[in-house]
Symmetry: C2
Subunit: 391 residues, 2 copies
């Protein structure tokens, strides 16, 4: 039953890929990056997946051994693929899509030489576009992650002990996540996205800028990995923002909640309410056809009207987006930023994360994962949204 469900899901995905390939006049698409292989085959393996625009897919496997099925072929090196396809009567592609945004230059050049196509296109761009619209099976995976994510967050207050540092608090949350089924590994798109399980930001550490493309930063514990918790004490009056990845299935939910050590300043509570108001407003207007740029402007506009522009999405370094698609990677399309050309479509799943950094207190705000339905958006990650005092 599950096998059949998965087979249907894969057919659906291949169909969407073929449609996108036709639109750009591509004859074949070759994939080998882990997230793309998982998307099109339901597993990560070492090897390649080749989809002709008209015809059935081929699975070229280097390792592990033991796979069987139609058009599953074991190879030692990519050069074998061209001959195997030719021997089977599969035409050499006139335009071949290769993962130009993910393969290393060396790997790209090698694969290009295997097929020596007259024309090429970018499979990374195509796959990121196709992967925006989630299938029913993928949405079911998100629902599993979301439920476990919310169950985990409900137990966070029990992780706290007086006198802890942000790191000690984070270690307990990490363990809780693992015990609740976190896969551990955290996948992101692009070179500038180093992260480990997620982020716990407390007090003034929330103001520290990082090199990475996440909403907020933090100093981290080493200049080799300058992000997140840095060892600050969780003193009374500190806001602790917990933004750990919901990788309880291959589909990651994104969810942020704020905890407090005792009472925060009035400004912190007010800014948190503005975040909740932004979320409510977006929930009112977001539906298929709405521009992602407009969602950003709506959020930034409310922050501005409330006089909070200077601490919206950071202080010293402000993130230029208020939300992003999620999936097998934490930063899929669409992105909610001013220059976005995208509009919401049914089946998109995204995280909305209006946040404020209050100097001397820490970060406040909210993040939830949403599914775009035919008529609006549906929240996936349900848990208490007010700031919870854990002392």
């Amino acid at each position: 039953m599950i096998q059949q469900e998965l087979a249907c899901d894969l057919s659906l995905k291949w169909g969407r890929m073929r449609q996108a390939m036709r639109e750009e006049g591509a004859d074949g698409c070759l994939l080998s990056v882990d997230v793309n292989l998982y998307y099109v085959t339901g597993r990560v393996y070492s090897g390649y997946f080749y989809l002709p625009v008209e015809g059935e897919p081929w699975f070229f496997v280097k390792r592990p051994g033991g796979y069987a099925g139609e058009r599953v072929v074991y190879i030692r090196k990519p050069e074998q693929m061209a001959e195997i396809l030719a021997d089977s009567g599969v035409q050499r592609p006139g335009k071949l899509l290769l993962e130009a945004g993910e393969l290393t230059y060396n790997d790209y050049i090698r694969l290009h030489a295997v097929f020596d196509p007259p024309h090429t296109g970018d499979a990374t761009a195509l796959m990121r576009t196709v992967r925006r619209i989630k299938t029913p099976w993928e949405i079911a995976q998100f629902r599993i992650s979301a439920r476990r994510h919310a169950e985990t967050y409900a137990c966070i207050p029990a992780c706290y002990r007086p006198g802890m540092t942000d790191l000690e608090f984070q270690y307990e949350i990490e363990r809780l996540m693992r015990k609740n089924g976190s896969i551990g590994i955290f996948r992101a798109f692009g070179a500038n996205m180093d992260i480990f399980m997620g982020s716990v930001l407390a007090g003034s550490n929330a103001e520290v800028a990082s090199p990475f493309d996440f909403a907020l930063g933090g100093e981290g514990v080493s200049p080799s990995f300058p992000l997140g918790a840095s060892g600050v004490s969780l003193e009374t009056g500190t806001a602790v923002m917990v933004d750990m990845a919901g990788n309880f299935t291959a589909y990651i939910t994104d969810m942020t909640r704020v905890f407090s050590i005792g009472k925060l300043t009035g400004e912190a509570y007010r800014a948190h309410q503005v975040s909740l108001a932004i979320q409510r407003e977006v929930q009112q207007v977001a539906r298929p056809g709405v521009a992602c740029a407009d969602v950003y402007h709506l959020a930034a506009g409310i922050a501005g009207k409330e006089g909070l522009s200077s601490c919206f999405m950071g202080t010293r370094q402000q993130a230029g987006f208020v939300g992003h698609g999620i999936g097998i990677q934490i930063n899929e399309l669409p992105v909610f930023f001013p220059r976005s050309k995208e509009v919401l479509e049914p089946g998109m799943v995204f995280a909305l994360e209006p946040k404020f950094v209050i100097p001397g207190v820490g970060a406040v705000g909210i993040e939830n994962s949403f599914l775009v339905t035919e008529t609006g958006i549906e929240k996936l990650t349900y848990a208490e949204e007010e700031i919870i005092d854990i002392t």
Copy 2:
């Protein structure tokens, strides 16, 4: 003092890079990958590092803000670099090295267009070669990691509770590592190296082949990440191999120990002793000038003489190496495999991991990290090497 030490270390590294650049006739080297930036600047940032073969390095930073110093220049996009260098009288490189084995094809093409050099070379290959020989500062970092790694492993027996699964055992070890200062993030070279903190392999799960280029496999918990612990019960008679990364500094030590649930079979203990014998033999002969291929043949030869070839480095899928360089990434050069052309040199740091998989029992064997000295090799990771019964 620490600042000055780091500055000396960076000068030493730049000098070695310039030497390697001269040898291949390169005029400039442009780096932007996190591990290379850390190596040449002591931190990870978003931006670029440019080293002319004759002259001082340039630091082009996109984020975070706040850096200052000579030839530190903030840029918004890589295209600005060419003009800035030209304005400062830095010659356009006739041969430019770019990170062809790490940059995506798209990023490589963009950076190539910025400088439009008549000739190019592979900065990835050059940096991996230069990074093989560790500096005194780097070796000091390894010693810190090694000590914490060993201290952590000494506490592993206390993580065990009867009735646990391999996953539950691993979660407790992960927490212990984090409490002892593990940075969390785990860096590896190449596309086929997905991993999370390390590996705990128990019983027959040690026989399961994975798609990844690690010594052993394991089924994992999801087809999106088929590696390592899979949820098997730790029954009496099971060998549990713990191979968690020693990323207590940016320099990762590699270390494996085997624990048992009660008594194992005689064959398992015998194979473990063969691993220890291989390690002893390698310690006897390894010194500068010894070929890495010969180290492999020595190890595989002892396994063969003992009739254990069919379970050396795996059963259904056998790894083709018995050791590897370590550093900022877990899989640096040299690699100890039959076709290696490399010889040991003073300052190399490597992991030696002769392991056997005993069907029905699990994996046994040893892994330690070693420094190549002027006269031999020095073990860095000291801890009990016999199989420890944790029941």
